[in-house]
Amino acid sequence: MESSGSQCVKQDCPFQWQSVFTTKVQYQSKNLCFVHLSRFLLFFSLQTFEKLLIANRGEIACRVIKTCKKMGIKTVAIHSDVDANAVHVKMADEAVCVGPAPTSKSYLNMDAIMEVIKKTRAQAVHPGYGFLSENKEFARRLASEGVTFIGPDTHAIQAMGDKIESKLLAKNAKVNTIPGFDGVVKDADEAVRIAREIGYPVMIKASAGGGGKGMRIAWDDEETREGFRFSSQEAASSFGDDRLLIEKFIDNPRHIEIQVLADKHGNALWLNERECSIQRRNQKVVEEAPSTFLDPETRRAMGEQAVALAKAVKYSSAGTVEFLVDSSKNFYFLEMNTRLQVEHPVTECITGLDLVQEMIRVAKGYPLRHKQADIPINGWAVECRVYAEDPYKSFGLPSIGKLSQYQEPLHVPSVRVDSGIQQGSDISIYYDPMISKLITYGSNRAEALKRMEEALDNYVIRGVAHNISLLREVIIHPRFVQGDISTKFLPEVYPDGFKGHKLTDLERRELLATAASLYVAEQLRSQRFLGTPRIPIAKSKQSSWELSVRLGDGIYPVAVSKDGSSFSVEVDGMKLNVTSEWNLASPLLSVTIDGTQRTIQRLSRNASGDTSIQFLGTVYKLQILTKVAAELSKYMPEKAAEDTSSILRSPMPGAVVAVSVKPGDMVSEGQEICVIEAMKMQNSMIAAKTGKVKAVHCKAGDTVGEGDLLVELE
């Protein structure tokens, strides 16, 4: 496909979104157009459903509605009361409120949803992901009403939903599972024998211990004996349960998953893999397809096992088989997700399939229309999950608020944005804080990543904190670029937490020069009045400015002189030429600094000289003063800093779940003071020092904003 695209200006995603997505997708050759024409005709020759209900919200609901529109299916959206103005509600042909904001009362409220289905006479339901997508009870109730569930049947949902059963099924279908032993081990020799059978390295722990507690890794016989001794002691003393778990230890694991698609006639396909190793707190952040790590043999082997498993459970619809892959390309079954995955767009980009459309067709009973040999890997696709969260706090703590400005980077070529929000939308504490999925496509990985960088720089999100800075750092990190990643990537690369982009000397000069130029452009504009007042305005002849710019802990003298339409800026003994249109109202500013083009965003400015600029993805706070003002600042009284150890502020917006102290109580350092819940997380707020509680400013049930005062100590 790539080779035939020679006469085309842009190489773009072959994915067929031109009518539904506003991306600038262009087609590569005439014969491809012919293929599309025949597919186009196919749409109309196949009847599926007249009306479909989407039991979800946000971007995935919008995503499903787009395909339904393409297929001529009428759509019904459901929503909670706070979502009445949501994008998915506006996009759907009909929308019905199913309850108040909490998901248990709305999007998980089966009774209400069943009622809507009856009332609107929807013939099918697409559950999206999350919510009721893997709920067998919901699937069963739909079946009993004669409504089609767009997904696998209840049997597959049930089988794959059970960890033990799914492993057993996988084993029987000859799918690699993590080899291991769970039971009483007589002595160290037996432990060594088991370990050798499994193959080193192995992980040894007490069966009764949860999670990674008391886990020991053994790389040889000696370490196995030692591990046996400790773990068996611990098993007996701590748990009173002698059983041990000896399991293959997957070192440096990658999370790679295979997309499968199966119909109700026993056919199943694998649609290649997705690499989802970049995670934080077990949540994926960056995904791509294909994976840099798999060779064609491994890919085929994984694909065939995934298909074998799908067939074993008589799977129909789209599904995902997740594997852990170790550094020697051994892969082990983890679990199967019986729904459409969040990261499905990357598969769509490289295969050209519309998974939602295929799911709907399959649910209607049509056989698959592709053969395994028809499934290509065309180019490379990368997806970044853009979240409303503060990446500087444990790689992302939720942030809420109103999107005061929002502009998707759709002017960048080969960009797809799946979102369910728009300018003015509220990111609330009730739902997932995902803003969008940003997908870029290229003929190869480097091209896709380059476009991602550009897309991230051109993404305007104001009003809430977002993780663009983290995403951008990840995709340009040398380890990521080389494909050297694992599920531990973030903690390994940022052991002390994410701190934003680290400016090189040159980048710092570029930032200072840009900020100073913007300041001068603003100053010059302040003198340009239209009309003629009675006292004429004196035209300024000033053509050079001496400024003092504070950035972080440093204060830098910066000299700016106007040079025609551009500025010549001297900073740190280096002269830089800065050119731009200086449109001071535009949220995006394209600046050329000594020939290097950068897209920056000025997020705020005020009369006091404070400016914040998003540069290379990270937001920098600067203060720009004239040299005179900066010199006089020395004489200004210093403001006393707030003693932060005796006050407790909410680190994020959320709801107060519990307050465990009252005024007058003594608390010790590290003691829990209250619990704040935001999105799905409960966060324990602890005392920073020992002392007496002076005042409590919150109570259980309160909603608090970021930085709100919770408790004061004396």
Binding site: D81, A84, N85, K402, L403, S404, Q422, Q423, G424, S425, R525, S526, Q527, R528, F529, L530, G531, P533, R534, I535, I537, A538, K539, S540, Q542, N583, L584, A585, S586, A607, S608, G609, L625, V628, A629, L632, S633, M636, P637, K639
Partner: protein, 431 residues
Amino acid sequence: SRKKNKRIYFDEYDMFVEHRCSDFGMDSSKNKYPGDSVVTGRGRINGRLAYVFSQDFTVFGGSLSGAHAQKICKVMDQAAMVGAPVIGLNDSGGARIQEGVESLAGYADIFLDTSYLFITGPDVVKSVTNEDVTQEQLGGAKTHTSVSGVAHRAFENDIDALLNLREFFNYLPLSNRDPAPVRECHDPSDRLVPELDMLVPIESTKAYDMLDIIHSIADEREFFEIMPSYARNIVVGFARMNGRTVGIVGNQPKVASGCLDINSSVKGARFVRFCDAFNIPLITFVDVPGFLPGTAQEYGGIIRHGAKLLFAFAEATVPKITIITRKAYGGAYDVMSSKHLRGDANYAWPTAEVAVMGAKGAVQIIFRGKEADAEAEYVDKFANPFPAAMRGFVDDIIQPSTTRVRICHDLDVLASKTQSSPWKKHANIPL
């Protein structure tokens, strides 16, 4: 500030003036300072003329001497003659606040933490009323910007205050004989603001932030708020629309449901009169459930104070554009730059409810609780903008996203508005 820098064009006056006091050894040469305790002169801010006086605390604590006063009067007289503003920087142990000057003197700036302003100090207070109070509590920046309403803004320090003053200065005409200034604008006047279509919550009891509306409509989201910490149930300040300075008044549903009380009425009235005095068009955003009830308000004279706002809007002859975003109930509706007060363009969003009062209260009064369905009927009849539109009380019901476009067009047309009031020595605002 006396230093002459090549780039700072400041022409100082009366540098050789000395005080004429001879008592208590003041006439000795070491107690004479050229220029005395105030610096006066003129200069340009962004090319625009301004006169300045700045009291100098390093000379006798900035105290007001005859010579000192004479110097200030000289710049004031000249400023009034040419029609340019005077900026006063007060730093004096015994200064009298100079008021009623051409322009800026009305907007005194005081600085956070280091400034105090009171008629009588804490010692006198203690001896007369036996109250224990610190200087900061009695007349600090926080007191005057949030409790007394004496000061309009507080800033971190002198430099911060001056930088903000420069910004503020750019919004104002040089005198009441000039039209509102129009600065070069990069923000398209026909920019749609789609988020406004869903900004007002569906439940009419739910709050939202009026500042979100103001920021999204104004040029480049810039809004110079006046008295941001005082009577926060009304928002006033300056912005630009397609480059032209406008004064914005808005009820703030986030604070006390945006109701009008004594303090917010007085704050709004003062601002409206300022704009009218300086030819600055007024844009009013209305979401007001009414006047705040209660004995405190009634005994405090809410009728008299609310009338100030009514009077100010009625009296103003500058272009007046009003947008009803949600509630416009009762007397408060009339007060908020309604059509009845000579509004030039009065619009309602589809969420507007122009009525005598909320449906619940109205039904209680009409039916004394006997009619269950009446509330729904009342909502149907009045909780929408149509009855008002049918009577011409609002000129149009507009899509909220088009509000910026409409205002910009109206301001263009209204730029040549002339309106006169019957001759009088001065208007008789209910003080």
